[in-house]
Amino acid sequence: MSGIAPDQESGSSPAFLAELQEILGVRGFHADEAIRLVYSRDASHLTGGRPLAVALPADEAQLRRVIRLCRKAEVPVVCRGTGTGLSGGAVPGPDAVVVGTSRLTDLDPVDSYGGRVRVQPGVLNDGVTRHAAGHGLHFAPDPSSQAASSIGGNIAENAGGPHCLRHGVTLQHLLHLEWLDADGRLHRTGRGLAVERGLDLLSLLCGSEGTLGLVTAADLRLVADPADVSTLLAFFPDLEDAARAVVGLLGEGLAPVAVEMVDQAVLAAVEEAFGFGFPTDVEAAMIVEFVGRPQETVEDGDRAAALLAGHGASDVRRAADEAERLELWKCRKKAFGAVGRLTPSYVTMDVVVPLGELPGLVREIQVIKAGHGVDVITAFHAGDGNLHPGVCYDDRDPDQTRRAHAAADDIIRATLARGGSITGEHGVGIEKLHALPWQIDGETARLQRGIKDIFDPREILNPGKLHPGAEATFRPVEPLPAETVFQWANLTVTAPADTPLAGIQEAALAKGFWIPVGAVFHSSGCGLGSAGTVGDLVAHLVAGPSFCGTGTARQFLLELWAETGAGRLFHAGAPVFKNVAGYDLVHMLCGSGRVWAQPLAATFQLRPVPESVGCWRFPLADRKRREPDLDRLARYLATRDDGLGGPVMIVDASTENPEPEVVVLLPGRSRPWDLDQAGKDMEAILGGSPPASHLELDFGRAGEFLDSGLIPDWALSSPDWTFLARLPGEDGDRKMWPANIDRWIWQSAPRLVWSPDPAGSSAGWHADRFCKDGHILPACAPAPGVPLDFLRDMKALFDPSGALETPPWLEDENA
């Protein structure tokens, strides 16, 4: 920086600026030197140019008019939340208009029943949680910037944070988006359901770094506040031991909600800033957090403490109360800023490796550090295998600067050699453009570029970000795996598409893990049944009524090999738990059938299985009158979801059944005291009638229980299944299921009702016919508001000759 830069000559006409000003008014239009300087930067320390002007629209209408004007004048638009991004995503070029969302801050009332809220993009991450506080709910993604970062920015970057280990990244908490494309057309994406089959534009837009569209409103999923939290703080004299402890902890089947770590340098900086009284002579400090019912968190905490000590922790402390817990977290959350005390400048990295590679990478970073003679300080989202090495340098010293960047590139290469990704949550932006070609293959890059050209042919939206230039050389495609490989240290399984799912689940189960989509029990042909393959799961998202699952394939699919209609192999994603390197083709394609691409192989995340399943059968006479009780029961069960397996409720009140009943399955750890309590709670909810039977089954044997005729055959053997989900915003319909269906299965995660009778769906409900006569049906047409022209263009991109199946609704109107 040298003095005040002279006002740059702008290429745009004064008429353009005048029109912009007319749209935005005094508070929304700014083009003075001060604002152009301030909005030329974000938290990344990267510089682009001074923008032409800054637009701070007051509402969606203004935003739309701004986009249309820029489109007409072919002026680039760079969308900005609060400028907390670390990859330069909001750094504009000299000829751009920066559109800030800071005045788009409306929040709708919380729908506490549906666990959702609708917000404008300028609402802060923390603001959502504060807004939901009175409802016992919160917004789970919690990046360190959460106090300042906006929801729009979180969506653009697919932000993560410590608690994403349990709850998943921002994408998992998006139900519905309204967004403007490069022409200023308003689109809606998704019905706002927990499960929606079809090409998933939510997955595509989330993490697209403002290059495909601008979000104007989002429906967010909220997560129930835990009953109790137990937080451990462990100190390790040896950093590599600490990394190994993380692998050991998760490999033992413990399911903490967060495992965070900082190295000695960060610990020292935080200690200097806040004076918590932590030891500074250790190499690592680790935070491990469990949630659940009080006794449960204590038991988990004790087990974890013993494990950590066994792995070399010198001191393990437990937060005594909430205040102490928040103090511990402050230590982690403020780490980034506190580093400002240590070094004038640093390269903030965001690499992520398969979990089992964490200790190896930690070791390698020490070698790289010594080799280049630079300091590297690191904060870890350790449970995710995501780490933020900060390579320190003084930007006034050119040699130091060069060495620091060389070291950073070596760390990236080491990460990629271990099967990792260059970015887990910060995004590519400008900062990692040079490294993206080291990670993705040419065909994947071609598809990504093709998508950009479809959504934004004139390159108006955030140009120069995320897509490497034409001169880039991409890596060759990752070889297609030939057989099933379990990587137990990584908690992943990779398998060719034709591998039977049941075989994988059985093998995983034997080690205490599974892909928690609930497919293990289905030997009798409902949904995918035992004939379902890995490819089917990728293509169809769910396997059928999912007993005790905790989500859909979209949640646990990490990596995908697939073939386009033109027979070209591409590889998307990586065997890591978080990845935002380029558009998210993996999750966009998951559940889209075999319409755009043919899945060839996939890697899934493995999660610990529940130890047991509590099973209850309650008589259910006079079902109509009991409807409110069932409603309350479902709500109660939703609060009992411990992340290992989701509770399930099976209701049969049909006239064919002589003894109408409700069956409850409650997976979890084997804890007699807890199951006793659950039984009593449910008895009270159902009006005091005791269960007809109750037993606790080993999880692996629960399938036998379900198949053995203990519950009516229809529940598992009907060849026709439909899933039903309550649409948002229908305040009149507060019930969880259509009243006129008398046979159904309700599952807590994903929140769905399965029924063999699609005719039962009523207003406020969405029905997707999943299978008929034992065959999986393709997804129905997307919800109104989804741009069909984009979908058709993408079909042409992926399948130019129509070699793959084409549902009728996708056929070209003009053909």
């Binding site: 920086m1 040298s2 003095g3 005040i4 830069a5 508070r27 700014h30 003075d32 030197e33 001060a34 604002i35 300087l37 301030v38 909005y39 930067r41 974000d42 938290a43 320390h45 800054v54 701070l56 609060t82 400028g83 907390t84 800030g100 800071s102 005045r103 801050t105 300028g122 802060l124 923390d126 504060r130 910037s145 106090a147 300042a148 970062s149 800033a273 403020k334 780490a335 980034f336 800023g337 506190a338 580093v339 400002g340 005390r341 004038p344």
Partner: protein, 449 residues
Amino acid sequence: MPDAQVTATVSAERQLDNLLRQCVQCGLCLPHCATWLATGNEVQSPRGRLLLLGEMLPSTEAVSVPGVFLQAFDQCIGCRACETACPSGVPFSLLEYGQQRAVGLLTDRADGLPRPAVPGSVLRRLDRTGFLGFMSGVAGLARGLLAALAGRTWRHRLAGSPAGAGQLVRLLGSMPTSPRTDGELLRMLDGLSGGKSGGKSGGELQGEGRSLQPGPGPRIAFFRGCANAALLPGTSRRLHDLLVEAGCRIEEPVTQDCCGALAAHTGRPGRAADLRGRNREAFSGALAAGAVIVAEAAGCSHELGQYGEDFQEKVIDATVLLAGLDLPPAGRVPLRVVYHDPCHARHGQGIVTEPRQLLQAIPGLELVEPVEAEVCCGSGGAWGLRYPEISADLGRRKAANLIAAGADLVVTSNPGCLGQIADALLLDAPDLPILPLTDLIWYAVQKGM
């Protein structure tokens, strides 16, 4: 420029540069900055201002520092909330003051700085007790007149009035008041808590006479504060009474004057320095005798603390002092109360727990927390008169948060905040009263007798 002076400037610049580099641009300050919240414009955020400062730094002698740069600094309320929030420990106020010194010469050349909504002749006199008392009288009369003419909703009806009249209304509305007589206070709080005063109305606490009998407690030099003395005389007296009750030995140096905060706020460093000197002298005797200086207004205690290290350790905010004293046991006050932290206390002096301790010690009282407790109310002393629009927006925002906390009563401990919030509450919740914290403590002690 003499050599020594050049060296001094260069080293000051280097110092500023090093401080600036402490900012990692993370943006965590943004949601704590009142002016950013009100405008959504990052120029009016701490990070934005630091970026501008970095740009200006090498050009202290350049001819053109754009007016908009200086305005960005002028628009800073100085609440120091960003300093509390900053994980890198950037001493924002230090940077800003440094910068003001550096570019002070250029201020004349800067165009676009707003003219104060209130004439300079008025602004300059706001730190004079007599004038304030006069203004308060005018404000009281005007409020009464308006209420008579326009009914209970007069403030509402004038909120959207044209600029000139609107500013006048703001000035009138934001003059802080508190019950002058103890009877008035007792009646108000009795009514609010639905009970009758259990204590002897006009009992021991209501000592009009200034007890100078030495008690066993600490030796206290009482700092009056111009706004408190002129506008909240009842409250000042009640603080005095509480201290006497707790056994303090009180003296009140007669030659004391305004702390100088308002002069500093209104760009009159000369007068501020003059006032400092006067107060240093006025309190020198008491300090030598081992007294500590107590100020009821957080703004005063903060400013006195800036006099220098020797002074800083001898100044104590009234809330901190009261929290540490053996007050007589408080009676039951069954009210839900929300406390507003003055920035001068919370950010300027790190006072967060003491006022809450005081409130929580009152039986039956339920303390509730508002959202954005750390955000400025938009008063900022004279700042609000220069930026009336942003100030009014912030007042409404603060009022909305306090209202949402669901309390029966708002309390605070700085006259500027008291007036600003009272004015905003008049618009959005005319039935929600606001009082100085001291008054509520006095009442609780009274109820215990």
